[in-house]
Amino acid sequence: MSSHHQAIQDKLAMGITWSVAMLLMSTFLWLFSDIVIHGISGVSWEFLTARPLNAGREGGIAPILVSTALILMVCMAIALPIGLGTAILLSELTHQFGWMSNLIRRSLDVLAGIPSIVFGLFGNAFFCITLGLGFSIVSGGLTLACMVLPILIRSTEEGFRALPADYRLSAAALGLSQASTLISLLIPAAMPAMLAGFILGLGRAIAETAALIFTSGYVDRMPESLWDSGRALSIHIYDLSMNVPGGNANAYATALVLITLLFIINAGAQAIGHRWSSKRVLVA
C-alpha cells in the first residue's frame, strides 16, 4: 500500500518537473520560431554586407555588425586584464588582503545587480562627458566592460578556487615563487574557467541595449575609428521595432542574426566547458 502511494507521489513529482521543463522549453521555442519565421526571409549575404538605407527599412546591417564587434573587442580588451587581476587577488592573495577582498566582493555583488540603464547613464556622464570620449565605440566598450566585470571575475575566481590545493603545495615544495606558480601553473590551469566567464560576459554584452544607447550611440555609418559612434545590433533592433514605422521586417532579420551569434557564443562556452572537464589532469 505504502509503496503504491510512493509510486503515485513519484509520478506526480516527475510530472510536475517535466511540465515545468516543457513550459520553459516551449517559451524558448515560441520566441525562437517567431524570430526565425519572420526573420529568415530577410537574412541574406547581401543583408549582412550592405549598409542600412531609409532609416534601416531597406539595405543591410554591415556597419552595425562591425560596430558591435568593435564594441565587444574594446569591452573585452579592458575587462579581461582587470578581471584576471581581481580574480587572482580574490582567490590567491586573500590571506594578505582579507578586508580588501571582502570590499571587492561586496562591490561586485552590487555591480551585478545594477540595471543596465544605470550603467548607460553612468557611461554617458563619465566616459562620454567627463572624460570627453563623446558618443564613441570606446565609450560603449568601457561601459560594457564595467557591466561584464562581475561575471568575468566571479567565474575566474571560481576557476582558481576549484584548483586542488595540492598544486600550490607542490609548487611551494619545489621552491617556486608565488609569481611563477601563478604564471606557469595556476593561470593556465584556470584558463578554461576564465574563457567560460569571458564567453558568458560576451553573451551578456552582445545583447545589451540600454547601456549602449547613450554611450556608443545611434549612428549607423561604417565606423572609421574607435572614436566614432557606432550602432550595436540590439539598438538597431530596438530602433527599427519601436521607432521606425515599417521597420519590423528588418528588425526580425537583425534579431535572427543576433540570436544566431548568441547560439555560436553559447556553443563555444559549452565546448570549452566540456574540454575543461575532460582535461582536468595537468600536463605540467
Binding site: 550611440g217 572614436w227 595537468l282
Partner: protein
C-alpha cells in the same frame, strides 16, 4: 593547457594598440563632426538627411543620437550637441537663449484598434477618458469593455502637446500603460482592442496603410490625416525642429539650411511627415 597563455598575451598586447593608435583618425584629411541629439521622432529623418548631407560634403560626418526632445534641448544648450532635435515648439523660457528652426510638421492623433467601432471623439470625451471619468467603451458607443488608457512617458514632446491641448495636468491622467516611442504606442494598441493612445499621425498613417490593425479617430468630427494637419484644420499639430544656441556654428548653420531646403523634401515625405511649404 599552457599553449593558451599566448591568447591572453595577444589580448593584453592589443589593448594599448586599440587605445593608442586610433588617436588621430584620418590625419591627412580633417573630418568635421556635427553632433545632433534629441527627439526619437525626428532622429530617423535627420539621420537620412545627414547621409544626404555627407554625400555632398565628404569631409563632414553627421552623428545623430536619440533620447527625447528634452534631451535635445538640454544638449543644445550645454554644448554637448551642436544641434538638438525637438518634436515641439520651444517653451517661452527656452527661447531666451535658444533658436528653433522648423524642418517639418507632424500631427498627433488618437488611435484605437481597427476592431473598435468608435470612430469619433469630442474634446470632452478625450478628457473624460484620460482623467478616468469614463472607463468603459459602451458609453462612447463602443463595446462593453473597459478602456485601457495608454499615456506617454515624461519628457516626451507628444505628451506635452497632448496635455497642453486638452488643458490637462499629467498628474490628473489615469494611465494603464505608459509608453515611450511612437511605434511602442502603435504596437500596444494593435495588440489590445480596448486600448486608446495618441501618437504621431504620420507614423500611424504609415502603419495603418501597411496593414497594422489600428485606426486614427476623428477629433470633434475632424479626420486626423496628413491633409488636415497640412491645411491647419486638425488642431493637434506640432513643428519638428532643430534647436541651437542663438549663434550656431557655421557648420550647424549650413546643415540647417540644407535640412530646410527642397533637396530633402522627398525624405520628409518618405518619413510620413509634412514638408515645409515650398
Amino acid at each position: 593547457m599552457t599553449k593558451r597563455i599566448p591568447v591572453l598575451l595577444v589580448l593584453l598586447a592589443i589593448l594599448p594598440a586599440l587605445i593608442g593608435c586610433q588617436e588621430s583618425p584620418a590625419a591627412n584629411q580633417p573630418i568635421h563632426k556635427l553632433i545632433i541629439t534629441g527627439s526619437s521622432t525626428v532622429a530617423p529623418l535627420i539621420a537620412d538627411i545627414g547621409k544626404r548631407f555627407e554625400a555632398q560634403h565628404p569631409d563632414i560626418r553627421v552623428d545623430v543620437q536619440t533620447g527625447g526632445s528634452s534631451r535635445g534641448v538640454a544638449d543644445a544648450r550645454s554644448g554637448i550637441a551642436h544641434i538638438g532635435m525637438a518634436s515641439r515648439a520651444l517653451h517661452p523660457q527656452e527661447t531666451i537663449d535658444l533658436l528653433a528652426t522648423t524642418i517639418a510638421q507632424d500631427g498627433i492623433g488618437l488611435i484605437v484598434h481597427a476592431d473598435n467601432p468608435v470612430a469619433n471623439l469630442t474634446t470632452q470625451q478625450v478628457i473624460d477618458i484620460y482623467t478616468g471619468k469614463v472607463t468603459n467603451w459602451q458609453s462612447l458607443g463602443g463595446m462593453n469593455a473597459p478602456i485601457v488608457v495608454v499615456n506617454k512617458a515624461e519628457g516626451r514632446a507628444t505628451l506635452e502637446i497632448f496635455l497642453h491641448h486638452f488643458h490637462l495636468a499629467n498628474s490628473a491622467i489615469k494611465a494603464d500603460v505608459v509608453i515611450g516611442d511612437n511605434e511602442h504606442g502603435i504596437k500596444t494598441v494593435a495588440g489590445n482592442p480596448q486600448a486608446i493612445a495618441y501618437v504621431s499621425i504620420g507614423t500611424a498613417t504609415y502603419d495603418a496603410t501597411a496593414g497594422v490593425p489600428i485606426k486614427l479617430l476623428q477629433l470633434n468630427s475632424i479626420p486626423a490625416s496628413l491633409a488636415t494637419v497640412q491645411n491647419g484644420t486638425f488642431p493637434l499639430s506640432r513643428p519638428l525642429t532643430l534647436v541651437t544656441t542663438k549663434h550656431p556654428r557655421p557648420l550647424a548653420q549650413t546643415f540647417m539650411t540644407f535640412a530646410t531646403s527642397p533637396h530633402v523634401q522627398n525624405l520628409v515625405i518618405q518619413h510620413s511627415f509634412i514638408p515645409l511649404p515650398s
